[in-house]
Symmetry: C2
């Protein structure tokens, strides 16, 4: 049995930090980098080693994980000055767990391959709770042997780790996930606004409909938050909007029409314009409510 | 303890027939009426009594259940010639379990009240399987004491029987249910067409996404049928369209905007125009596929 790989972790945000903690808990030697210092200090006090750049992380790791906001951030951390590519060495693997454009995933992967670095795209679903509890779903694209060799690392962070196909297939699966998230959320928003206008008790409506053919994760988990006017994230509107931009631009390339998803993206633009980009995605209901206000 | 009420059942279709069977199984004395004869014969051979008109059913019953297609059918069976109202007597209760317009529910209920007949609106979800297994969700509107007195009858047909409020509240809850059904289905349709165009294995996509925040009853139960090109109903397109017409017209009265539900209704119109009104609602995917075909 091979020794555990040394794992580098770049991006210790609301998702990355608990994921890194789970790698430590699973016994992996961990080298961390983050732009701001407090999360680095927290990980170091749990046994990780701090590095001063993505390049330094790569030099000292067998596997480097990136978990950042968007395509631009991944490109800069991997291909930019002091980036992972500058610390490339034989046998290095990059696992990008951010949700980014599949096109960028493929181009970054090509740049890495030219220097002998393997790459997986492995975006996640399950949110900060899944990150903390190690119950994330991880959707993985890339060469199957690389996937197989990284499975122990991925299993330390997720409950359901699924190989989806070649480079980009992980990102494409995550985008398919976000299509459902968007459409299920507009359903819950229209349903609960309709119920309120109809004089029904929305909490009782959620209870009645949760057992049957109308049910969804969104209805069961975000419906009650809407009833309580609890718009704390969960998953932020602006991050779903970022994902939906990738969804819609990829769908255009694929000639895959998304009339409802495009509508939801437009309605969320209104939510953002109202200054609600940092609240939870359940705030979509406010766009529906405003469409029906008399003001 | 009061003796079991005599129950009349009008409308022995794909839903009504197994619901009536469950009433027999629970020990209720049952009087049945249906326009076509074979389902009447089947119930009679299980112990029910046949009546020759809705009026005759009402004369011999304490509780009359109607389970038919739409508002027009309910109006005719209750208010028309030889209808339930002509057989009205003291202590009679009508339970309409059809999905119809809440406006029609209220006007039929008013006509019945004028003759001393109580009424409940009690539409169901759970489909033919739920009807057969007695696992329907039953959403009930009407006076609470009438609901309480009819609970033994309702419990014989459903697993989750919920009192939603005054007359019409059951229908309004069912319409809220159909908003979710429509929006969840467009999500599944857009997601699976996107996945196919992206070269992903749609069955694996369904498996990956079913455990998390993108999940819905529709994804888990109808997604695999789409992958197998199995468009057998389940729930027919034309019946969902009938319900969505009630949804949209009620929503207009309530000033409750439904941009996504209205879009789905439009897309289903295309499905109907393609001659697919009698297949299952999962056929919505064909509208999305045709939008993206090059033909």
């Amino acid at each position: 049995m091979k020794r555990n790989p040394k794992v580098g972790f770049i991006g210790l945000g609301i998702m990355g930090r608990p994921m890194a903690q789970n790698l430590l808990k699973a016994g992996f030697e961990l080298i961390v980098y983050n732009r701001s210092k407090p999360p680095v200090d927290a990980l170091v006090s749990s046994g990780a080693t701090a590095a001063t750049s993505p390049k330094a992380v790569a030099e000292r790791s067998d596997v480097v994980i990136t978990m950042v906001t968007d395509s631009e951030a991944v490109k800069e951390l991997v291909l930019g000055q002091g980036g992972v590519l500058e610390g490339a060495h034989e046998g290095l693997t990059l696992i990008d767990m951010s949700t980014i454009s599949p096109t960028v995933t493929r181009s970054v992967s090509d740049s890495l391959a030219a220097k002998g670095v393997s790459a997986l795209d492995a975006p996640v679903s399950g949110g900060d709770v899944g990150a903390r509890d190690g119950t994330l779903t991880i959707m993985v694209g890339g060469p199957q042997p690389v996937f197989d060799s990284c499975l122990p690392v991925l299993n330390a962070m997720g409950k359901k780790v699924v190989y989806m196909g070649p480079t980009g297939a992980g990102q494409l699966t995550k985008l398919a996930n976000q299509i459902l998230v968007a459409c299920n959320m507009i359903g819950v928003s229209e349903c609960l606004n309709f119920a309120k206008k109809a004089g029904l008790d929305p909490a009782r409506v959620i209870d009645s409909l949760s057992a049957g053919a109308a049910s969804s994760w969104s209805l069961v988990n975000l419906g009650p938050k809407i009833v309580k006017r609890d718009f704390a994230p969960g998953f932020k509107v602006k991050l779903l909007q970022k994902d939906l931009r990738y969804v819609l631009s990829t769908a255009t390339d694929l000639n895959a029409p998304l009339p409802a998803t495009a509508l939801v993206h437009q309605l969320y633009k209104h939510v953002e314009e109202e200054g609600l980009g940092d609240v939870g995605t359940q705030a979509l209901v406010t766009a529906i409510e405003q469409l029906s206000s008399k003001g």
